[in-house]
Amino acid sequence: MKQPTTNPAIDKVNRGLRRRYRAERRFRICGATAIITALCFLFLLFFSIVANGYKAFQKTYIQIDVFFDPAEFANENLATANFPGLVKTSMSSLFPEVNSRGDKKELFYLVSPGASFQLMQLVKNNPNLIGQQQSVWVAANDDVDMLLKGHIDRTRPETERRVSDKQLAWLDALAADGKIKKTFNTTFFTSGDSREPELAGIWGATCGSFYTLLITLSLSFPIGVAAAVYLEEFAPKNRWTDIIEVNINNLAAVPSIVYGLLGLAVFINFFGMPRSTPVVGGLVLTLMTLPIIIIASRASLKSVPPSIREAALGIGASKMQMVAHHVLPLALPGMLTGTIIGMAHALGETAPLLMVGMVAFIVDIPHGFTDPATVLPVQIYLWSDSPERAFVEKTSAAIMVLLIFLFLMNAAAVYLRKRFEIKW
């Protein structure tokens, strides 16, 4: 390749050439390594979450034959009927040989405490059931669930596992009879939190997140966009606006828990708003996302070419018309992207909500902005703290759901940007 030339400068260049190409190759290898490492960690993260959590989408049920004894329903009020008794009677009828008090307790332990509520719901929906024999699939206890999902090792000594040998024998008998099944876990998506893992679900937290984010979005988007438009288009450029700009940038970097303390002090203690509610959580998250939205909106306003502003002013548009007719439509995709990313931020935020009491154990599904609620990330935090083995997979499953929401929001951001982007 390299022929000696008469030009000494070219000779020098040729000598340096190998070194230059080597440097370039090194740089490219470094870059590729960085990307591959990042992808590996990402894959590891997803793999561990999915591997831990995918079984949570299945739930174990046990079939029992319940005789809705009319004697139990003498009272008009259904709630006073002895539903736990019905469950126990049904269980006993499955294994008539179990007599001792201790053994019976162990037997009844196989089904979830929620089974009696399930029966009550059945009778409520269909009072004609009273006096009839009905076969019902009731939720199994979380330990049974864990055993059937392989999380409890049968080979270990009895004292070291949560399911006794007797219980194992009963379960094997039930399984042989086809009275145990695993189906899709709808409870997980339709119920609120519970102390019993087999009854706990994320719907309450999802609703809480929805109401909280609704407050956040409806406050932070208009305020953020208005602030950005004012600062970028109307405000004079002087020391005061410089100070405001610096402070907005600072606010974006404030640790989120500080916003929680502020919300606690201002919204709850000073204004007396109800604690643990989406309205307070939403206000706190509004404060937190405002700087993000303002910064993103200002950046997208700045990227609108000045020639468009001149064109509008040049034919006599007022400043307001210039902004509303030309600048805002061009800046909107960027603003929406910034807003959705801010919202995704807010959706994943835990710390400030702990401060305003959204960490409470709440079983009921919130139905409004002032109902006590929790949110998805806080629910994950709560479950990860629980000792039951069954909550481990619940935690991972909830993380999966949260991640899916985040993916959807980011996809929406990309879609909106592509959809409304105006090209020239």
Binding site: K237, P305, S307, I308, R309, E310, A311, A312, L313, G314, I315, G316, A317, S318, Q321, H325, H326, L330, I422, K423, W424
Partner: protein, 294 residues
């Protein structure tokens, strides 16, 4: 310097007989003189500018410029980069208001009305004085909407039919109608550079202005598109006063009746275009148009 004396003498004598024959010494002295040479004033002007000064912060960008703009004329403003011709142009429709730290003093009157008067609203003023910019800047909307925008915001039309008429008329005046009549709903940004610039001219004349300011309208265009714009300028002169800032002296010579030469914020020379180009009276003008600098 000698050549100046030789070529300039007859012109100076014939154009303004009272002026002295320039000696080498006086022509050198003229480099220092920044009084406007030639007569910047006309009878029955569209616009009068008196002692206009423009400051960017502490820096003075325009120094004491007085000039009239006649009705139905094309006046070209030429000069080296940074001489203030664009700045001066932007004073005429108060576009400098939008520039941070820019201050304009002096008296600018449109048909006798002081445009800096407290009672004068800048919005209708800009409707009366249209502007075409250096880079074609159509709105990222349809061709139709580009032209219709001005009449719409100023409430010039009562209904769609009137608006259609104005759009068609403006596009015809801008010489663009035949090319775009089939695709009025397509984006204006999809046109070629020259077509975009004519669209911008159509947009400016859609609000029936009295003057059109053009800030190097052809600098981003190829020679063919430039020729079309220049033809258009000649046609538009029938109805409007046109002030055009240009870097191309050939263009100034082709399209304008009068030419004003700016240098470092001073208005050096104003005169009939033929005279300025064949017979400049100021040494700086001479140097510029003969290509000694600029």
């Amino acid at each position: 310097m000698e050549s100046l004396v030789e070529t300039a003498n007859p012109g100076v004598l014939s154009a303004a007989g009272k002026e002295e024959i320039l000696s080498e010494a006086t022509s050198k002295a003229l480099h220092q003189v920044r009084e406007t040479v030639g007569n910047p004033f006309v009878d029955n002007p569209r616009m009068t500018c008196r002692e206009v000064n423009v400051y960017y912060g502490d820096k003075k960008a325009i120094n004491n410029v007085s000039i009239d703009i006649a009705r139905n004329e094309v006046i070209a403003m030429i000069g080296p980069s940074g001489c203030g011709k664009s700045t001066f142009l932007r004073c005429l429709n108060r576009m400098n208001d939008t520039v941070e730290g820019c201050r304009v003093t002096g008296d600018i009157r449109l048909d006798g009305m002081d445009i800096h008067d407290r009672n004068v609203d800048v919005v209708p003023l800009r409707a009366r004085i249209g502007m075409v910019f250096q880079k074609p800047n159509p709105f990222p909307k349809s061709i139709y909407d580009n032209v219709a925008y001005g009449p719409k915001i100023h409430g010039l039309v009562q209904n769609k039919a009137e608006l259609d008429e104005i759009v068609e008329g403006s596009l015809k005046k801008a010489g663009l109608w035949e090319e775009v009549r089939e695709r009025l709903n397509q984006p204006g940004t999809g046109l070629s550079g020259g077509q975009q610039q004519r669209l911008c001219i159509a947009r400016a004349i859609a609000v029936s202005p009295e003057m059109i300011l053009m800030d190097e309208p052809c600098s981003a265009l190829d020679p063919i598109a430039t020729a079309r714009i220049e033809e258009l300028i000649a046609e538009l002169r029938e109805q409007y006063s046109i002030v055009i800032v240009t870097h191309s002296m050939q263009q100034a010579a082709r399209v304008s009746q009068r030419t004003a030469y700016f240098h470092l914020g001073d208005l050096i020379e104003v005169g009939m275009t033929d005279r300025v180009f064949t017979n400049p009276r100021h040494q700086l003008t001479e140097d510029y148009i003969t290509g000694r600098f600029g």
